[in-house]
Symmetry: C2
Subunit: 157 residues, 2 copies
DNA sequence: GGTTCTGAGTTGATGCGTCAACTAACGGTA
DNA sequence: TACCGTTAGTTGACGCATCAACTCAGAACC
């Protein structure tokens, strides 16, 4: 930083930060465990399938899908390759723009998602939604958006 | 689950959840990038060093350290091995209980931490603390604790 | 005092994410 | 149409996390 004057965290700030840090470490793991055990899917893989299922024709360009699932294009490419090998997804290059690859959900992929969704939603409810009051949910949304603004400015433009 | 009646997420709940999910995906990455670039440390490695530095004698049993850094014992073991190879940490078995391994910070480890801390704290400030009002910080702490209660009941008992 | 049980820690194989390097296609310019 | 820069996507090597299997030390029980 080049500045000797460091503004260290005050005790209250530190406590909040440690709580958030613990949350970031443990919540993803808890969700992955449930999904992996009950459906053989990663949370990221689930988001990929969900992102496709929400789109018209169950199809979406890779870049767009990567943005939706909060991952890099490289990561998505690897994951989609594996999902394709499992028969959940297929790829074809766009006829309009030869650079674009559109991934689309197969019927098996759809069924896999339908089978996985109830358990996943239940886990999200149990761990997050039902642990908070409606007021806290609103607070959390605002807090999350403000932090994301700093972390990743220029998303959803 | 075994129940056909699934309580799906309502739109507001879904939005909050997607925001939190995006946060969980991106905040760890952002912090790791800063630490890796400026200090060659992972966030987890940083927490390990920080956990040792806060302890009397700069030493702590592995299990305790794993709890502090929010990781499994196995993960910690691998990480401490690497940190030991880099000269930042050393291990020795406790004289009181032969099962316990205590890790302790070397002088080089201490210097590494001191060098890394300002940049890391600045990143935490910039991305999280300064993005929120004091009121929101208090809200976030409560929210985080309530979720952690569900995710990992029986921590800090 | 030997046997079993539990808790602490380590290890190696496997699988996933990241990074850098690459291919290929489009758009513009001459 | 040839060249250049840009954008989309893929690939392979490397590093880290996870899981299961293992070792070893204390506790408990008889």
């Amino acid at each position: 930083m080049g500045d000797d004057e460091v503004r260290w965290l005050e005790p209250a700030e530190l406590q909040t930060w440690m709580t958030l840090a613990a949350l970031m470490f443990k919540l993803p793991g808890a969700l992955d465990v449930q999904l992996q055990r009950d459906s053989g899917l990663t949370h990221f893989e689930y988001l990929v399938l969900a992102g496709l299922s929400e789109s018209p024709d169950r199809a979406r360009p890779m870049s767009e899908l990567a943005g939706f699932a909060n991952g890099s294009l490289s990561r998505l490419s690897h994951v989609v390759k594996r999902l394709e090998q499992r028969g959940f997804v297929r790829r074809c290059t766009s006829s309009e723009d030869g650079r674009i690859t559109v991934a689309y959900l197969t019927d098996e992929g759809w069924e896999q998602l339908v089978a996985a969704a109830p358990g996943h939603v239940a886990a999200v409810r149990r761990l997050v939604i039902d642990a908070l009051t409606p007021e806290q949910l609103a607070q959390l949304k605002a807090i999350g958006e403000q932090i994301l603004q700093k972390v990743d400015p220029g998303r959803s433009c």
